[in-house]
Symmetry: C2
Subunit: 274 residues, 2 copies
């Protein structure tokens, strides 16, 4: 049994995070830490069910989501989550959460996985929290409030540092066209952390280059955090990013330092898809 050797630290949460969101993040971190202590890599990665989003649920996803669902119930808020779908607890507030973003990393020990979520009232997010589970680093933003994060401000693609979702067969051409234009490529396998790096100015953009892979739970935190830092989150094909409980809806999201950079990447992806 191949255990992951490193502990999972408690997240460093700001004091003003909404209690329901903070509790969910702490529950996710604790559950992931416990799972790594008792389960080896193969057990964490085992696909044990089919999630509400139509993709298989790994044991690590299920373990962390169970803890998040219990936390949401204790907090008295609804939950929209990757595996379980929408859990209605009769609240005006809904946590829209990816309990473990970067599941494959989380199961294999690549130290790049996140809890990420937004608190939503009437389809409008009021705040968002991203926790890098492996280190406890946290990004938090409230809609309409200043944040300490500032994107790189980059407006053009040529030479930019861009993180990409890994290519699929369906979008190989678009993926390579973006690659041809950029200065540095990263593929970290964790959308939520990659969006946080855009928000704080460490990379210029993150994109799903047209594979229509991302769900609202993958994007909820970015939709709050990145615009507050001066950036933009759009869909390559212009579809609105909506807080919709239907997790079969997918987007090819572009998370970029500026609206201009996001639009430039979108144009390449759309052009390649024609």
């Amino acid at each position: 049994m191949s255990l992951i050797a490193w502990p999972v630290p408690a997240p460093g949460l700001p004091a003003d995070v909404h209690p329901a969101l903070a509790a969910a993040a702490r529950a996710a971190s604790a559950a992931y830490g416990s799972a790594r202590l008792s389960l080896g890599r193969a057990a964490l990665a085992e696909e044990i069910a089919m999630g509400a989003d139509g993709t298989p649920t790994m044991r690590v996803d299920a373990a962390v989501e169970d803890a998040v669902a219990e936390s949401a119930q204790r907090s008295g808020v609804n939950l929209l989550s990757e595996e379980a779908g929408f859990l209605d607890h009769g609240s005006a507030l809904t946590l829209v959460v990816d309990p473990v973003d970067g599941s494959a990393n989380a199961a294999s020990g690549v130290p790049l996985s996140c809890f990420a979520g937004a608190l939503v009232r009437d389809a409008a997010p009021s705040e968002a929290l991203t926790v890098w589970l492996d280190t406890g680093r946290t990004w938090w933003a409230r809609t309409g409030h200043p944040t300490p994060y500032r994107t790189s401000g980059r407006t053009t693609l040529d030479g930019a540092t861009v993180n990409l979702l890994r290519p699929k067969r369906s979008n190989r051409d678009a993926w390579l066209r973006v690659l041809d234009r950029i200065g540095r490529l990263r593929v970290l396998g964790t959308t939520c952390l990659e969006a946080a790096l855009v928000a704080e100015g460490s990379v210029d953009a993150f994109a799903d280059a047209g594979s229509d892979t991302l769900r609202i739970v993958d994007l909820a935190a970015a939709v709050v955090t990145v615009p507050a830092a001066g950036g933009a989150v759009i869909d390559a094909r212009g579809r609105a990013l909506e807080f919709d409980p239907d997790l079969t809806r997918r987007w090819s999201a572009i998370v970029a330092a500026t609206p201009a950079l996001a639009e430039e990447i979108a144009a390449i992806i759309v052009d390649a898809s024609r």
Copy 2:
């Protein structure tokens, strides 16, 4: 000025690390932490000289290497390092070091950069240390001693998790041929951390798919750490990986969970280069 917001923790070093290697690692970590406190991203990334390896030296590289060079001098050992080349302090021992592996990450705030080095006597490495600067996580191995690390043991490429050095125009075909065979791609931009992840079994392999980019300073720690964990480090074109002070020598290294997996990747790269 866009400062990187996160502190750099002191590395967690095992007690038995050779004092010269431990001191160099501590010096690198402290210097990187200081540089991030006072210099913004653009200043850290500024190319201020040409290194002994024939590539430009960023300010962050220079700052950390200066600290490592002072440390080696205090310890009375020679140093072979990315920017300065070989510094002869009249010792039988040489530290072969990449002071900041993943320089672009280190300068931009992507939290994936390492100090990595090996202690070498008469061209034979006796021990190696990798420190993930952003978290203080450490991997240490001694030649001929058991280690706690165990690779994934994977022997075949189809469906494997493989980290690749980002593609260059010269090796696009080989890069895509490897990509076509694997299950998951990661591009982290830090060879030494990626090799440590192979050693501990978190990814199956890391490869430069034929671009002949890597120098002995990038590979010194892997050459000790990965075989001790059951894996292999080879050159795609079969050239011996030698501790040679000539830093213009380059390799297309493959770091893999098993010799069989390394050879399978090498065969694809060689075939694509024909």
